[in-house]
């Protein structure tokens, strides 16, 4: 049991490296969806730390993603002009710069998370949700009006660095860091804060510190996810980081089951695939038996988002505890 998490992380990184070697053989559309899945896993996992494990309802995760995305992108754009040629401009140099850009984006976002979190984490439940919602909107409006980052036209000219390897290594790393942090005596503090703040204080847990820690680490990974996104789409637009984007991440966490990392990961995969699947479905024709006629599923194309929403409603009605949460006894309560 003792070295397993680290081994799993290593295995995931090696696997994503191997798959990445063959990525040129993968249909670009599939690759696009796959990278989208990876980025959503990072986002959902990091929000799971804040919403799921620590119980702080944050609605500003897309705002964090935007901060990280724009910072990392600006870093790369500046470097690709001067520093990269100086380093020889090779693949290794550009990839190394990319890592630095991602970390820089993550750190800037973590700092923003600290600034936003420290005062607002005194609030609870709905109130915190509204504050974080406001934060997300402020970020969006600031970006929309800052000429240096392209304002509402969006930021272009971001180099393409993100690939399968980075996306899934980072997804694995995010899951590893968050689960190994939570599954420890240290980490029981997050859950204790979620369950009962007064009792948590009574057993010596500094609740504010735990909440801010969750917020900062969650923001860091959201920022890194933003960096991945920026260097994948090569274009950032403030409108992409609105309220709806935050809601989508929240839906992944709730659907997967708050504080259930495997479930949240599965939900991130499912919810990224679902719209794509409905898109594919709309191209199908179901042949009617005994005739030459067939039913076209073209109508799905127009009602795709309605179907998506309907499915969410159904899932919530049928499985309010989360799609992937079963009431089973934990294997190891020590959670190591």
């Amino acid at each position: 049991m003792s070295t397993r998490p680290k081994l799993l992380l290593l295995a995931a990184i090696i696997a994503s490296f191997v798959i990445s070697l063959f990525s040129s053989h993968i249909n670009p559309y599939y690759l696009d969806v796959l990278v989208g899945i990876g980025i959503n896993i990072v986002l959902a996992a990091s929000l799971n730390l804040i919403n799921g494990y620590t119980g702080q309802f944050s609605l500003g995760h897309a705002g964090f993603m935007a901060v990280g995305g724009y910072s990392a992108a600006m870093f790369s754009i500046h470097c690709s002009g001067k520093i990269l040629p100086a380093l020889g401009g090779g693949l290794f140099a550009s990839q190394a710069l990319f890592v630095v850009a991602l970390i820089a984006g993550g750190l800037v976002t973590a700092l923003v998370g600290l600034i936003v979190g420290a005062p607002s984490l005194r609030l609870r439940g709905d109130y915190l949700a509204i504050v974080t919602l406001g934060f997300g909107e402020i970020i969006r409006v600031i970006l929309q009006n800052t000429e240096a980052v392209g304002a509402s036209r969006g930021l272009t000219g971001i180099p393409l660095y993100t690939n399968f390897f980075w996306t899934f290594s980072i997804a694995a790393l995010a899951i590893y860091v968050i689960t190994s942090m939570v599954h420890s005596t240290h980490g029981r503090g997050f859950l204790a804060v979620r369950d009962d703040e007064i009792a948590a204080e009574a057993v010596g847990i500094n609740t504010t510190r735990y909440k801010v820690t969750a917020f900062v680490i969650g923001a860091f990974f959201a920022g890194v996810a933003g960096g991945l996104y920026a260097h994948f789409k090569q274009y950032l637009n403030p409108d992409g980081f609105g309220f709806m984007a935050s809601i989508e991440i929240v839906v992944m966490v709730i659907l997967g089951g708050m504080g259930n990392m495997a479930g949240v990961t599965a939900a991130a995969i499912l919810l990224t695939l679902l719209p794509e699947f409905l898109r594919v479905l709309s191209g199908w024709h179901i042949p009617l038996p005994f005739t030459d006629a067939s039913i076209s599923l073209k109508w799905i194309a127009g009602t795709r988002m309605i179907l998506y929403s309907l499915l969410l409603i159904l899932i919530m009605l049928l499985r309010p505890q989360g799609l992937f949460t079963w009431k089973i006894k934990k294997k190891s309560p020590s959670g190591k």
């Binding site: 003792s2 190994s180 240290h186 009792a199 948590a200 009574a202 057993v203 309560p333 959670g335």
Partner: protein, 267 residues
Amino acid sequence: MTTPASTIDLLRMESCTIQFGGLTAVSDLSFGIGENDLVGLIGPNGAGKTTVFNLITGVYTPTSGSITFQGKSLKGKKPYEITASGVARTFQNIRLFQSLSVFDNVRAAFHLHLRQSICDTILRSRKFHKEEDEIENRVMELLEIFNLGRFRDAYARYLPYGDQRRLEIVRALATQPRLLLLDEPAAGMNPTEKIELMRLIQFIEEKFKISILLVEHDMQVVMGICRKIVVLDYGIKIAEGPPSEIRKNSKVIEAYLGDTAKTDGTP
């Protein structure tokens, strides 16, 4: 036994007053708890007993007066800091971590004495494993003492009521306190359970060599085990002394039973 201000007291409340707006919940209260002492704090409903707890544990700050623990003032300290300095408590209405297992409820309380950094935790260093194993053993040891070992993996919310009460005490003990505050531990218990609880409290005092302050309005429980009793009524201390004295104290009888009931011998 009516203690004057003494330096050997573990905890000392000195003329504490707290007002909520115009309401004085506790007025000019002074009393001390010595080392390995078992003190009862009693009084009718609304006398201010739980307020005293909240004053000691830092939930409220006294409007005037001082509270010192091991010679140090607790003024301005947050509840978690007071717990860290060695005062643990339970709650009148049980407050367990509902969605955590019995084991994890106690483990969370060991958090205070962790020596590993968050990096050790994330990197799963050798230090982390060693310490987690150590904590696991100590949690199980505590749970076994209180006969809760068999519930180790059960969710705290599914425990029977009496076991939940005991688990809360175990959780408080896991913070390794010098002083344990028990807020109406006998609430909702039947007479047999109450007797069991009295034994348990005495056992804790002897086994862990700590002081206990017990808030209770059940006279039977307090009289049976406490060495000293402080009686509150409307936020004012009306009596302090050993159970034998308190039992005969006319003010206490009046507060509890009203003046007409003086003839009834049982408190």
